[in-house]
């Protein structure tokens, strides 16, 4: 941790209290560096779970910013507070009974008709999703477009905290994507075919053989697997020839040996 001593210290304000923390930290690690243990408002730490919405102001800037704590670096004069939970009550519905009619979203979330197209939700979104556009698409019954636009939503709820019309954006997005997946998404015919083959037990026998094989037999089977002969720089490619070379560097046997030794030691 010698790098820490060379980093400049900056002042940030957490929940109204000033702290000196090293620059280069994310909001989340800065909060922890300041001595707090996060038990809410923390999750994957990788910008994917949406647990850490944070509201903050910057020095000499009137705007209110929103972001994920784990993904945002601190700045001098940052004044922040976390929202560990955004209340959005969801409607319960049985997807098999939901009909993809044009008013289906309005049936469960009629408040989307209050949207004033101010785009505050889009500005608040840490994922750069065009939130207003998917709400508008849902308003006019365009389920496919709403599902497409909202795909990257991580359900952090920041949009809903800022909306002047009190819309609950991400449950609407959930409903829309569920309808899309159930009724609109084209089914792959090849997938259906393969699933039916598997259900008929096409690979049962082979799987039974493989799972009861010894390690040596398995290794032998792997080495002698059939590969298409491919011309590459006027050389024939083959697994056997390339074994243990730069072309096929995975040396299964040695790896297994190390693993076994590691476990027993």
């Amino acid at each position: 941790m010698t790098e820490q001593q060379n980093l400049p210290m900056i002042t940030i304000t957490l929940m109204g209290r000033e702290h000196q923390v090293p620059a280069g930290l994310t909001i989340m690690t800065a909060i922890e560096h300041a001595g707090y243990k996060l038990v809410r408002g923390v999750g994957c730490r990788a910008g994917f779970c949406g647990a850490c919405p944070t509201i903050f102001r910057k020095a000499n800037d009137y705007k209110l910013y929103t972001a994920l704590a784990c993904q945002t670096l601190i700045e001098e004069g940052m004044n922040l507070v976390q929202i560990p939970f955004v209340p959005v009550s969801r409607k319960s519905y049985n997807l098999s009974e939901v009909e993809p009619s044009h008013n289906i979203v309005l049936r469960y979330y009629p408040e989307i008709a209050r949207c004033v197209a101010c785009n505050t939700c889009t500005r608040a979104c840490p994922q750069n999703i065009s939130v207003m556009d998917y709400i508008q698409a849902a308003l006019r019954g365009d389920i496919a477009r709403a599902a497409e636009i909202s795909f990257d939503c991580i359900q952090c709820g920041i949009c809903s905290t800022r909306c002047p019309a009190d819309i609950k954006h991400y449950p609407v997005a959930q409903l829309v994507r569920r309808i899309y997946g159930t009724y609109i998404l084209p089914r792959s015919s090849q997938l259906g075919k393969r699933v039916r083959e598997l259900e008929k037990g096409l690979y049962q026998e082979e799987m039974a053989t493989l799972t009861t094989m010894s390690l040596t037999d398995l290794r032998k089977l792997y080495e002698e697997r059939t590969l298409e002969k491919v011309e590459f720089e006027s050389k024939d490619q083959s697994a056997l020839k390339e074994l243990g070379t730069a072309q096929d560097p995975v040396d299964f046997q040695d790896d297994m040996q190390e693993y076994i030794e590691g476990v027993t030691n």
């Binding site: 008013n103 289906i104 309005l106 049936r107 009629p110 408040e111 008709a113 209050r114 308003l139």
Partner: protein, 133 residues
């Protein structure tokens, strides 16, 4: 209760309605054209021209009337008023005085699903703009 005195009384409702609507309620000379034109007047408890008169007299009945929620903003009164008073704006001002207290007139969450499923989206958008804050 209506109190008529020679001294001018402060009239909060009038001030607020005049501000929100931008209209001079004293210009109304009670000809009744707006009330005669209004398609929903038969359902109203206070006729439109009465609404104006009561506000200027310092009465607050218009605020609790059914009238302001029956107005559909169809602008017939606006078009026909010989004094160029925008009655629709006065009705809107009265509605807004309620809605800005964060109390919706239409309970969005309690609308029957059958209605939400069949009405055109414009009906919902228009209704919520007029009846919710």
């Amino acid at each position: 209760m209506l109190k008529i005195t020679a001294k001018a009384q402060p009239n909060e409702l009038l001030a607020k309605v005049a501000e929100l609507s931008g209209q001079n309620l004293f210009a109304c000379y009670q000809c009744g054209t707006c009330s005669a034109s209004c398609p929903f007047a038969p359902e109203m408890d206070l006729l439109p021209d009465k609404v104006i008169r009561q506000i200027t007299l310092g009465m607050t009945d218009p605020l609790t009337s059914k009238t302001i929620w029956l107005c559909a903003s169809c602008y017939l009164c606006v078009e026909r008023c010989p004094r160029d008073i925008d009655m629709a704006k006065i009705m809107e001002a009265l509605r807004q005085i309620h809605l800005r207290k964060n109390v919706d007139h239409v309970k969005v969450a309690q609308l029957p699903e059958i209605i939400l499923e069949e009405v055109p989206p414009i009906a919902l958008v228009a209704n919520f703009r007029k009846n919710t804050g």
